[in-house]
Amino acid sequence: MGLVVLRRKRPIGLPHGLERPSSSANDVYLSRRNDLIAWGRKYSMWPFNFGLSCCYVEMATSITSKFDISRFGSEIIRGSPREADVMVVAGTVFAKMAPLVLHMYEQMMEPRWVICMGSCASSGGMYDIYSVVQGVDSFLPVDVYVQGCPPSPDAFMRGLVLLGEAVATEKRPLSWVVGPQGVIRTVKPSLRDTMRPERQKQTDLRSPDEV
């Protein structure tokens, strides 16, 4: 098959300060075919129907017409892990549920990503209690953390779009038999830091006494 190697003349503009890490394997990966495939993946990330708790209701709300994640490519929520791309851990990771989370993550096919939706999935949230695992990243690799309790549907969509943008610049092997293996992921900065200048410009804050 042979990987076509083309030198890029100018880098694709990366939003939100995402960096493309430099490595010697760059030349092999950096090809139009990979970019095309990555572009296709970015616009068709199908979430896994993995609602655990209250965050799932907000995830379901983001699927309905007011927020509608299907316009960003998440057309179908898949019930089976074999068919899904993104596992959205929406809700608290309970001690009884944790082995099932890992089991279903193992059952997902590559390429697969994980979004932690909500405070409970990211770090246990307000539930520092015996039956809650303090963050799903203690046993799963996580790509994007979306904060909130629950995050509003806009925040979840933002996280999904952010993951899409990172996916578009990821480097994945074309074949498991030939070529360099291993995924080179894009470095994702904290949105809180990158958006601080914008936030600090807001000096006119509405009072809660008016609708």
Binding site: F50, T61, T64, P99, E106, Y127, F139, V211
Partner: protein
């Protein structure tokens, strides 16, 4: 509000004066202590009373009394098991407590008296280590099968950070999963019946039709369901243990997340219970605001229920429409409280802040809009032939069964039992409002849904009355336990400064006592039984949720039906996972 008809007097008459010591509680519920040898006799007698039997077992729970300081008027006990019975004919409750001594005491089961005692006793065993002799399947229910220890005992750690870092490798996960494998022999099920074999299918925990992470293992004979075993505990968040680590005030956000669709409806029974313990009177404006926001959240919760029910039966569009309507309701909630699903806006003694200017216009628009939409949904969903064919006659529950299993709320009313706490035991200001309570006839899935739809209309009616008659006044009581003193005065005298500082940092110190507040949540009777030891934190927070009792009934509802019928039944029982597992 609850009339005392001399139940304690009757008990003394029957069992001898002094043999059943009474305890006075801050909520006016007659409470008696019965020894382990005769508590079954007492319960049987109460259940069979002429002219008003205590036919419903609402709750069984336990209290770990070992670190409790203020219990002078109570018999000595290391653990006490609490049975809470309800009589609908007398409109009265009674609480029977059994003192137990020893580290891991045991007690006879009452599953032969009330079938719903099954899961409550399993939960009490799981949480406290109290064995119930004669129980058919005494095994863990809320904690995983591999759990060691009994969480609500005072020596069990509360926080995950006290239990060491969490490690789970893939092999650990496989080992834990192996314990979750369903073994039919454990439940008395056969694998075959001679000519053909049964299939055991796991529906859930990760499944779109189970409305959450709950597992129903179904024994199938071809397509027909022979038996079903629900497995809960996948959503156990330890809310009751959390109550013992949070102050009275900071526990309010945890209550929001019990029935996560209900929002402020969950805050209601909790703050009512604390107000009973502390003796706080809520001003009228605060009461009306609370009722209005609670009814708005009832509409919000019922819309999710309605939408997911129709989606379960195959109608995709109503789900989208109803979630859109819900967004309009959330605009109001966000304007008033600042939050969407979990505002945590009720406070002990009132609400967090006053209503913003312009709220009445938003509310009026929403009520007009929603009335029209409910009429439209009737045509699309309730009058649809397929919906009717799939739900009429499916999942029938008779009156006696519903009461025996502890069903409450719209589930109970669909079977024809007129029991709505807002009418029978008005709380929080509901006595001032005019509304009807729908009561069904058959107790099938269709009736359950019809109850919810009518309740949306009645809630809109209540909200309109709140809108038209909102009194002026304070939005919160100025009782010292509800509100710290004014900040300006803290600079003038030292007592105000001290009280303000303690009120803001520690929170209220609620006097010792026990109180229960039962409210009509969107799914049924939601209650908080709080035990205070005179501290800043609750000594024991017992949350009795309606969905726990309803899911226990699922095997009875679906035997002999097929899996699509099971889906229709699950869609018609309004339940939320955090409500079952807390």
């Amino acid at each position: 509000m609850i009339a005392t008809t001399g139940t304690i007097g009757e008990l003394s008459e029957r069992f001898g004066a002094g043999s059943l010591p009474a305890q006075s509680t801050k909520d006016g519920v007659p409470t008696v202590w019965a020894g382990a040898e005769r508590f079954r006799e007492v319960l049987t007698w109460l259940k069979s009373r002429e002219g008003g039997s205590y036919s419903m077992l609402l709750d069984i729970t336990a209290i770990d009394e070992r670190s409790r300081a203020h219990r002078e008027d109570q018999p000595p006990a290391d653990f006490s098991v609490v049975y809470y019975l309800v009589s609908m004919e007398r409109n009265q409750d009674v609480r029977v407590k059994v003192p137990l001594l020893g580290s891991y005491p045991s007690l006879r089961t009452i599953t032969d008296l009330w079938p719903n005692a099954d899961w409550y006793e399993r939960e009490t065993w799981d949480m406290f280590g109290i064995t119930f002799e004669g129980h058919p399947h005494l095994r863990r229910i809320l904690t995983p099968p591999w759990w060691e220890g009994h969480p609500l005992r005072k020596e069990h750690p509360a926080r995950a950070t006290e239990m060491g870092p969490y490690h789970m490798s893939s092999d650990d996960a496989q080992r834990m999963l192996a314990t979750l494998e369903f073994k039919p022999e454990d439940w008395g099920m056969k694998r075959e019946n001679g000519d053909h074999q049964y299939m055991f299918l796991n529906i859930g925990p990760q499944h779109p039709a189970t409305h959450g992470i709950v597992r129903f293992t179904v024994q199938l004979d071809g397509e027909e369901i022979v038996d079903l075993v629900p497995d809960i505990g996948f959503h156990h968040r330890g809310a009751e243990k959390m109550g013992e680590r949070q102050t009275w005030h900071t526990y309010i956000p945890y209550t929001d997340r019990i029935d996560y669709l209900g929002g402020l409806l969950n805050n209601f029974p909790y703050v009512l219970a604390v107000e009973k313990l502390a003796g706080i009177e809520v001003p009228e404006r605060a009461q009306v605001i609370r009722v209005m926001m609670a009814e708005l959240f009832r509409v919000i919760s019922h819309l999710v229920y309605y939408g997911t029910f129709s989606a379960d039966l195959g109608q995709m569009s109503p789900l989208f429409w109803m979630f859109n309507d819900r967004e309009r309701a959330f605009d109001i909630v966000e304007a008033v409280t600042g939050g969407r699903m979990h505002p945590a806006w009720f406070r002990i003694g009132g609400v967090a802040m006053d209503l913003p200017a312009g709220w009445d216009r938003m509310m009026r628009d929403f009520i007009t809009y929603m009335r029209r939409r409910i009429r439209d949904y009737d045509v699309t969903v309730m009058k649809n032939r397929i919906v009717k064919a799939r739900t009429k006659g499916i999942g029938l529950v008779s009156k006696e069964e519903a009461v025996a299993w502890g069903a409450t709320g719209p589930f109970l009313r669909a079977s024809g039992v007129d029991w709505d706490l807002r009418k029978k035991r008005p709380y929080g200001g509901y006595e001032k409002f005019e509304f009807d309570v729908p009561v069904g006839t058959h107790g099938d899935s269709y009736d359950r849904v019809a109850m919810h739809v009518e309740e949306i209309r009645q809630s809109l009616r209540i909200m309109e009355q709140c809108l038209n008659n909102m009194p002026a006044g304070h939005y919160k009581s100025d009782h010292p336990l509800a509100t710290p003193p004014r900040k300006e005065r803290t600079m003038h005298d030292i007592e105000t400064l001290i009280n303000h500082f303690l009120g803001v940092s520690w929170g209220p110190v609620v006097p010792a006592g026990e109180a229960i507040a039962v409210a009509e949540g969107s799914k049924g009777n939601h209650s908080y039984y709080l035990v205070s030891d005179g501290g800043t934190m609750s000594y024991r927070t017992r949350i009795r949720t309606p969905s726990f009792a309803h899911i226990q009934m699922v095997p009875m509802l679906c035997r002999g039906l097929t899996i699509p019928d099971l889906v229709a039944i699950l869609g018609s029982i309004d339940y939320v996972l955090a409500d079952i597992d807390r």
